[in-house]
Symmetry: C2
């Protein structure tokens, strides 16, 4: 075994690619002491060889076309770090057809094309590993697939987008508005110049697609996920939440219950006594609640060159071990035997039940609260608590903050629509779901 060498090719040498190259070099001896075999990068591909990089690429066979690379080179594993969908998808499919195993950090690729990739992998008895696609250094994929594998998983709730968590944490700490903090996040490199993918929730939805599939044994269902971003969260809401004993986090939630599976990404109020409520800044954390283990939580860096490389190289080592021991295919891409995937009903957001935080701006007139509560009562929505910050008698435009008991979202939507039609109500009502996570 000590003479065995696994040959890998890396497609895409950006931040993560350089991390992978550097890490494999730096910890080569440590990895060998654990595994007893060698892992060797033989070739890489990138658009431009001479680009300034944080790693040295001179000793590898270089290609500008990754497809040429997998055609020409005799490699065991392709490491796909190009990102995006079109080139990566084609490259991964071609690799599997050539019986080359795949390691990828590409969440969009798996979330949107994982079903067909899974079929191809099975057909060719190839491994496809994608630990780095969700939560960076946090090994949440492997934990769900190989450590919680004795359990029925009940629900997952995760802070899996560092940008949104940084912004929400920072707003509360610095008492600044969303827009100001977003600018700061962009300056610090925590947000893209076009931040919509992160702050709008799409990135988290890609990741939730993956986590929910491997947790519940269902196909990847990106289109079925309900997605809300954090663009409309105001500093006032963060402050009111704090007063109520909650913190607002942008969560990705998947829950399996009798009527189906809930898949949703949106801001939530969570009790500040929960461990995940204390996860601040760009860090990621995922809570998995399962029938035997109970809730467990996994926390760490969600991005970064080396943090992501930690997961990519771990995948490389584990796939290499399967090659050395001739046990590839022992872990299906979607965690269930492909012919055992379940058909489930994905619930629409109107069908979920939740408690709600509501912030309503009203013109102060006698009977305002009575009008509002009457409409809520008509939809079977009962109120748990009311927060009135300003004096209703002396202020012409005041916020009323309500917390409701649990109710069907459909009822809330209908009630809010009626309340917004009241003359005394100004603008759109802020509605944030409350998750107890217990």
């Amino acid at each position: 075994m000590e003479n065995k060498t696994i040959k890998i090719g890396i497609a895409g040498v950006g931040t993560v690619g350089c991390g992978v190259i550097n890490l494999l070099k730096r910890n080569n001896e440590e990895i060998f002491k654990r595994t007893g075999f060698n892992i060797k990068v033989v070739c890489i591909s990138a658009k431009n060889k001479d680009k300034k990089r944080d790693c040295n690429v001179d000793q590898y066979n270089f290609y500008t076309d990754p497809l040429k690379m997998i055609e020409n080179e005799d490699i065991n594993i392709l490491v796909e770090l190009i990102g995006g969908e079109s080139i990566a998808r084609n490259l991964v499919k071609k690799s599997l057809e050539k019986n080359i195993h795949v390691v990828t950090a590409n969440k969009a690729l798996i979330a949107l094309h994982g079903n067909e990739i899974s079929d191809l992998a099975q057909k060719n008895n190839c491994d496809v590993a994608f630990e780095a696609s969700v939560a960076g250094a946090v090994p949440i994929i492997k934990v769900i697939k190989e450590s919680l594998n004795a359990n029925k998983i009940e629900w997952i709730a995760g802070i899996i987008n560092g940008t949104t968590n940084f912004i929400l944490t920072s707003m509360l700490k610095t008492k600044k508005d969303f827009k100001d903090v977003l600018l700061e996040a962009q300056e610090l490199g925590y947000a893209e110049s076009d931040p919509s993918f992160d702050v709008g929730g799409i990135d988290a939805a890609h990741k939730l697609t993956i986590l929910s599939s491997i947790s519940f044994g269902i196909n990847l269902n990106f289109d079925a996920i309900y997605v809300e971003g954090i663009e409309n969260i105001e500093l006032d809401d963060l402050n009111y939440a704090k007063e109520l004993g909650y913190v607002i986090k942008h969560l990705a939630i998947a829950r399996s219950n009798e009527s189906g599976v809930e898949l949703r990404v949106h801001p939530c109020l969570i009790p500040n006594s929960r461990l995940i409520a204390n996860v601040d800044g760009v860090k990621n954390a995922v809570v998995v609640s399962a029938d035997a283990s109970g809730p467990t939580l996994y926390y760490g860096a969600g991005a970064g060159s080396y943090a992501t490389a930690s997961s990519v190289v771990s995948d490389i080592i584990n796939v290499s071990k399967n090659i050395v021991y001739n046990s590839n295919g022992n872990l299906p891409l979607l965690n269930y035997q492909p012919n055992k995937l379940k058909k489930v009903n994905i619930l629409k957001i109107e069908q979920i039940k939740s408690r709600y935080y509501l912030r309503i701006r009203v013109t102060n007139k006698p009977g305002v609260l009575a009008d509002i509560t009457k409409i809520l009562g008509g939809k079977s929505i009962s109120i748990e608590s009311i927060l009135q910050k300003e004096d209703l008698v002396n202020d012409a435009n005041v916020p009323i903050v309500l917390v409701t008991h649990e109710v069907l979202e459909k009822n809330i939507i209908e009630a809010l629509s009626s309340i917004e039609n009241l003359d005394v109500v100004k603008g759109k009502i802020v509605k944030i779901r409350i998750e107890e996570l217990n």
Copy 2:
């Protein structure tokens, strides 16, 4: 593969054993959908068949002698849940000699006899899995062995004994003393009638022995661990710590640095902004800091029938997979190839560096503080902050709380010995190490 059945025998049918039997039954179909093969309990052993249990044992071949069981039965995996050292050790050795793979939840067995068990396992190409031996449902063993395997691990810090964490959390919350809270913990079933194993730190030291070995690639070194319990922590210390921005936790710490490896179990002050500072009650959590991943944290139930069974059955599934795919032996017991284990210097407690919290009871006389600081200064110990709660002028017996800068423990020990000899100092000085965990 779908016709393949893995046969297991369970030795010891107490709380965890019943959890394993019930969980395998309850989630049998879910596990099959993931793996594609069957796992079947064929035999069990226990002292008494007719004991009242939370599981039905009638359908299994029953033995009172586990050695007879492994002689008579044709099983693939022995699940050792007897606990303790002598019978379990003999049984596990005999099993490996008969090429039966082993799953165990027995921390004492691995911590104290894991080196010889590792040799035997390698010799017979058998798997030995022990996820449940540390931190119950939290898959910290597999994470270190298979998810952080691209990293050099720098340090680990864990709350890995639920009893001590429950007591410390409860003291601070209820403002009661150690002894009162210990009684409550015993009534709740969170502490044994003889609690010394838990509150004295031995249980945590067993677990740290295991975690440090698989993290650093060293032999199991239980005898080299420095151990302090929480018996001397007073409510005053918890309150002063809080005032300083810290919380006191009983931590198991392993750290690798240039001069060697630190292995120690003792109470610590940790900044209350750290996520692990918010881990309360009987829960467990481990932070692993590694060169690529950075710090990651793993949290969940550290004990309980089903929580522990979650890890035991996960081990059973993963070892079964190795049997089905003929890939046993792919993961050495101690995580490094046996011939690649490192010889390292385990540091004595005098050789570590730390910041310290000191609580000194003094009779109030002019110049007391000057006497104390002079002795500290003579040992190169500089003071970061002083907390004086009561009025030195009006009280004859007052506490002085000091926080030092980082210094060699040897110097602190010598300085405290001199200070305790001062006439004005009453009783033993309370010394608690401060860990920043960053």
